[in-house]
Symmetry: D2
Subunit: 476 residues, 4 copies
Amino acid sequence: MTFTLKSLGLLLGLLPAAALAADETGMLDYLEREQARFAGIADAIWEQAELGYLETESSGLLQETLAAEGFAIEAGVAGLPTAFVASYGSGEPVIGLLAEFDALPGISQTAAPHREEDPDKHSAHACGHHLFGAGSTAAAIAVRHWMEDNGIEGTLRLYGTPAEEGGSGKVYMVRAGLFADVDAVLVWHPSDRNAANPATTLANKSAKFRFRGISSHAAVAPERGRSALDGVEAMNLMANMMREHMPQESRMHYVITSGGSAPNVVPDFAEVFYYLRHPQASELEQLWERLVATAEGAAQGTGTEMDFEVIHGNHSVLPNETLAQAMYANLNQVGGVEYDIEDLAYARELAKSLQGNADDLAAAAARIEPMELEQGMGSTDVGDVSWQVPTTELRAATWVPGTAPHTWQAVAAGGTAIGSKGMMVAAKSMALTAADLFQDPELVRAAQREFLQRRGEDFEYRALLGDREPPLDYRR
Amino acid sequence: MTFTLKSLGLLLGLLPAAALAADETGMLDYLEREQARFAGIADAIWEQAELGYLETESSGLLQETLAAEGFAIEAGVAGLPTAFVASYGSGEPVIGLLAEFDALPGISQTAAPHREEDPDKHSAHACGHHLFGAGSTAAAIAVRHWMEDNGIEGTLRLYGTPAEEGGSGKVYMVRAGLFADVDAVLVWHPSDRNAANPATTLANKSAKFRFRGISSHAAVAPERGRSALDGVEAMNLMANMMREHMPQESRMHYVITSGGSAPNVVPDFAEVFYYLRHPQASELEQLWERLVATAEGAAQGTGTEMDFEVIHGNHSVLPNETLAQAMYANLNQVGGVEYDIEDLAYARELAKSLQGNADDLAAAAARIEPMELEQGMGSTDVGDVSWQVPTTELRAATWVPGTAPHTWQAVAAGGTAIGSKGMMVAAKSMALTAADLFQDPELVRAAQREFLQRRGEDFEYRALLGDREPPLDYRR
Amino acid sequence: MTFTLKSLGLLLGLLPAAALAADETGMLDYLEREQARFAGIADAIWEQAELGYLETESSGLLQETLAAEGFAIEAGVAGLPTAFVASYGSGEPVIGLLAEFDALPGISQTAAPHREEDPDKHSAHACGHHLFGAGSTAAAIAVRHWMEDNGIEGTLRLYGTPAEEGGSGKVYMVRAGLFADVDAVLVWHPSDRNAANPATTLANKSAKFRFRGISSHAAVAPERGRSALDGVEAMNLMANMMREHMPQESRMHYVITSGGSAPNVVPDFAEVFYYLRHPQASELEQLWERLVATAEGAAQGTGTEMDFEVIHGNHSVLPNETLAQAMYANLNQVGGVEYDIEDLAYARELAKSLQGNADDLAAAAARIEPMELEQGMGSTDVGDVSWQVPTTELRAATWVPGTAPHTWQAVAAGGTAIGSKGMMVAAKSMALTAADLFQDPELVRAAQREFLQRRGEDFEYRALLGDREPPLDYRR
Amino acid sequence: MTFTLKSLGLLLGLLPAAALAADETGMLDYLEREQARFAGIADAIWEQAELGYLETESSGLLQETLAAEGFAIEAGVAGLPTAFVASYGSGEPVIGLLAEFDALPGISQTAAPHREEDPDKHSAHACGHHLFGAGSTAAAIAVRHWMEDNGIEGTLRLYGTPAEEGGSGKVYMVRAGLFADVDAVLVWHPSDRNAANPATTLANKSAKFRFRGISSHAAVAPERGRSALDGVEAMNLMANMMREHMPQESRMHYVITSGGSAPNVVPDFAEVFYYLRHPQASELEQLWERLVATAEGAAQGTGTEMDFEVIHGNHSVLPNETLAQAMYANLNQVGGVEYDIEDLAYARELAKSLQGNADDLAAAAARIEPMELEQGMGSTDVGDVSWQVPTTELRAATWVPGTAPHTWQAVAAGGTAIGSKGMMVAAKSMALTAADLFQDPELVRAAQREFLQRRGEDFEYRALLGDREPPLDYRR
């Protein structure tokens, strides 16, 4: 019954020789020199804090930056106005980097190391996607120069992927075939630690279930009404009963997004928003049918009508140990984040709001986690990419160790040098790994072999969100 | 929204002249003389305390008694082994008396005026049906002798009706057409007071809803199970939600009759037993559809299967003020119950377990309630008879005033002289009213006119329990 | 168990002689002449459509109008910025008129006879309080002139009462003792028919129950979270179970006003808004304790914390047949609403959106309902006044017959001549009745006697909303 | 969040040399010769199929057998009439064997290879405890003779442990200190396969939660009643909500053991029976507090009263790899079960009712599972022993491969030679391992060292069922 993340044994293999080709030093030097520029791009996106599918300025800034460096830009891909593909070079291999840039709603914070709302803002980069976008862009530009300088063959692509937070931007891009010819994808994510572990996540699917009843004066003629909220509550009850009869690794959670307007009127509309997750997409689809049945049963039993709209859906991440090993070697080469006195003072101040020991913050930020397979319980639209192309994800310490994502602490540190230093660790590691892939065809082939073995030969990709159009206004 | 029991105005009319025809005195004298015999029959049935459809001895004793007095007995009518029709005379009018004789399960009590279980008994006459059956039989025999003595034309019938308590015996007898040619029906019921009020009740329908799931070890593989108890609980929740959206006079109540066997096994069977009531059968049928929908929705939402068995169904009682007036006049003629010193001592002792003032027990037992329309919230299978034939129901004080039905106090007093004295008040009043009906064709016609007016010309009887077979083993 | 509204038999009494004192004709003439002015005031308030406790312009306009006619104005009474008392004259008797003026949120409609939203408005007079306020003001001014012209002794008061819709403005005014010395209160309400019936309502109490849990990532660490929404749903379930065990005339209804923000976060806050009603305040208070217990039990059972804020509370209306008879006589004197051809054309057009027969609209608007006691199932803060002072309420047809309150049809017709004609019927009837009270001390005494008889001598007023401060920002 | 069963690395160690001491051959020969006798004892217990704490005959038969072989019998230990300790020898080490003998209620089956109820029986050995008891007894007697023959020092104990199925017999024996001086415990369990894996289980605690309300006629006066069933259902709802907020390895399941008696009476009593489990007893205790809070909250919210009785409680099994290795070596020495033609025909016939491949039944029965740590999700009172004494458990194939415990197939095969052959595999392996322990002090010390390391030095045993008295009549 327990889902087991199976290592294919590669973790016990030797690390690839991590000797730097002489020319890769130039790439690192380039990033070192340009750090302030890329930090400035990240800061600009941090300031904007644009929400999913509304990241016009943020996406535009990255596109301009890349275009100015000679990348060919294809904007508005996959029907997503803020998605883009920036390309350099030609031929094989095709190596992709991913860049996110959307912020989160309902949170406001300055860069101060204590809770301080910014009265002018209702959204913020609490998941560090401003660093994500700027860091990947930095890596892409560094690799592009290295390719030119060294006459490297192949195609480099930077995918600008909007609306990761609940918008599943990458899923529409995968569905549109934008990754069909890619050989490997490298991605990173802001974090409070440095790691290159191959990890997986839970596949996730969400929908808004909408119940419609019959309105009536709740005191004068309740018997003529049918409460849509009854439908929602009956569904929730049956979903809670269903928990016992789901595999224990499943996750299901909901909020009531519309629960009636005034007590003296029987609600004729109510809405509940569900997420359902499981390590395996196939199992998730079966559980989903059962969740829909709770909604249908609730409608039948309460005399209401129900329809639902799938909001988003992400596959789990398919790990790739081959790529992870390569990334791990390069991360070790680059090293973790080094705090200066100012960073450390800031980190200590902020750490007062966190649980745990604040003494070894500098050491923690510099540490690199040992390799091991991880089963994460979150979800990301990187998942869908990973079932199309061998993909690996790096994490770099852009937040004070101990910080959880989606907190004000993540917003705050992400707006300081702590954030941009972590971002550069990521940019360097990504750039080095991309360079490895361009130079080592056997590495690409090994990653492909592992990919096919894990995924299965007869796998057929199906977006969990089906054929719905992108919810371009889900954050309006 | 409020159901209103509408008087047709007859209550304001004059009482019929209550002068006794000389020959009716003989009838009363007969009953006075034979009181001990009929009390003995009641006692025998009280001792047996046979449950619904299992009243072989009780029904047999009444049949023997009636046969010995020259009644023709048709036994086992309507597919009910313990139902019978005892007839005397021929031609019109056809006047029916009803006799019940079933006891209640789960209660045990001696005739003591304090709580005292009878260790040998698991059922008891907590609703006084032993008096009901014996009293109606006494009335029938008295009328039969009066008919012979006075050369009265017409047909007298005593209906032995089993399983009133949840078995709906009379409904099967109505459905079988046994009341099709009857002109008027007289019935009485044991009570703690004397009254001839026209009253109505709630129509009532019941069913057992059975859910079937999938069994599994609840710790090792709960995800493979589907709990039938989830189905029951989801139905109950939605039914409780439905309460808000039902007319306020409705009543709905349930018990869980099977809730799984062992906690470590996911229950593959569970059962809930519902009653649903409303003053009007037509409205009840609509509410019933909604209740069934809660069960269907619950099954769908919990991955279980559901079927249900209608257990019983009673129409409301259609009151008849014309007959009630006639009965009321005779009840006044007979007078209420008179306690002797022994009765009073017993009543005072028993009354210690009741709320209220024990001082005026003798006066309360003797009092006759003034006429008024009553909306009762209980239900009885007399209801179905009342939509076929003009029917009125008398109550006589067979229990210590303040006693509720279905209590040990009702069992106790029903086994003493208090019970049999009340029974004789009923027998006399019923006999006198039957005699009125045999002698006064206009009274019969007036009752019929009112009946048609209340019921509506185009009424078509449909048993609420549908075409199910009698549940002859529902008490086994 | 059934609540019965008991008539004291006065309804069978003779109508008071309705001969008009000659001088009252002048009062009616005055209102006839000034109709356009008062209609203009109503229109201005209709346009503003200000919400509860925010009716600055509307209340100000009425105050100005009354001040200009010589009334003394006390503004901002009872801690309510938009409440006022306008007084004229001195000594006894003290006769009060009530004037409301708040609009309803969430509805927008022009004066067109078909559904037509006004894009500039998010609130509207869907309950006709613009007419209510202007009509009562008209009556007050007419009476004031008549008092002066005829040298009438006594004090006339117009109470400007804000926030009837959920704000319970009058309750704070009663609590502040503003009605302590008043002899009788007259009030009216816009309607789709003309009636002076003595009526009662349900006592009502509301609160927002707020649950606080522990937030956590719903997929990564649900076991560390405690869902506040679980608290809300558990409370609702137990409240729904409680329905079975409440007197059937009770009413209980709720909406979920905060049901969590994002599915992937365990909600640490959730809120549900309840109304609870019963014909009797004392019974309501007992039911309220049980409702609070469901909230407490839900918090305990779900590991959350709960507090609640009482939002509003209204007593039932205590009817006064004496005053109702006087009002009824005057309403008959004045007559119902007379539609001209234009009104009728409008009414027919609007009636297409209503159920029922549109043929006799003119006749229906002109008709006056026969007197009878009414048990309404709604609630109003007039209730609290009625337990302090003998009070009666008139209804006049300001809406097309068949229109329900709180609908766009009520907004629309209320903005036309149909509305202002109905308003003048009310103003005239109120003015005549006030004049009766000033002239007939026995009428005042009779109303007082009935009042004391119905209320009980030892009644002690207690606001159902307790000692809370007015929720002045409940509509912000 | 994921509970991990941590191997201490011993599994990678070498198997102990499994060379048989010459004298152990005699022990195996003895068991071979006496097979029919012990099979007969098992059959006798199978026939009796006595339920928990009522195993008078079964326990008595084992006691007689052991006494006849020179064991000293202490009967009725720990306040349990059917528990006993049979001892042989003296001094150290003290080696214990466990013997169970209780049957399961609600199941009836003959020894036929198809579903065939035995009309005379309402209980059966569906978990094979007849073999368990007889097999351990056989082992004990064989070891006893070997000790005598070879002059072996030490104390051999056979614990007769009643009521494993829900009665937690061993917990009372542990609580009474009966295992305080034991060095190692060997136990086995009937199964459909042969294995000596170190395994753990879930700690488990159960209780019956009893709600008391107020009875009332459900149609006439529901508002005066308080439904005890409401209490049960509200508790269940909140428990189902709690599932989301429990560690995923937890297990919680319930059945409603009393759900009201008749729909027309508001239930004044209702009962629900819960099991709650978690791999760690300490975590279980915390979850238990939360479960109790759901019951308390349900009582408060439904106006009912609640108390609960803890029924049973078992610690998880603490595995011991040292002992498991020794057992594994001996199991391999003995070999699995060998079917003859008759057995195989029977197995094939029975296997028709099982899922899976019936072809390799003989091979499957003979196979021995490779060693690995196992996290079982069931529970057993062996758990409490294992936190007092180093304990290991063997499984032997007494059922046709593919058979689940608690099924008719387990009853059936357990009544044939298939059952007794598996039992002898167990008896031989247990005897050999006991002999190892008597001869190898280092093995005993190594087991002790591992035990202390796993358990922790400062562990203090506390029975999960608290200080309740044994529920000696829980199966009556």
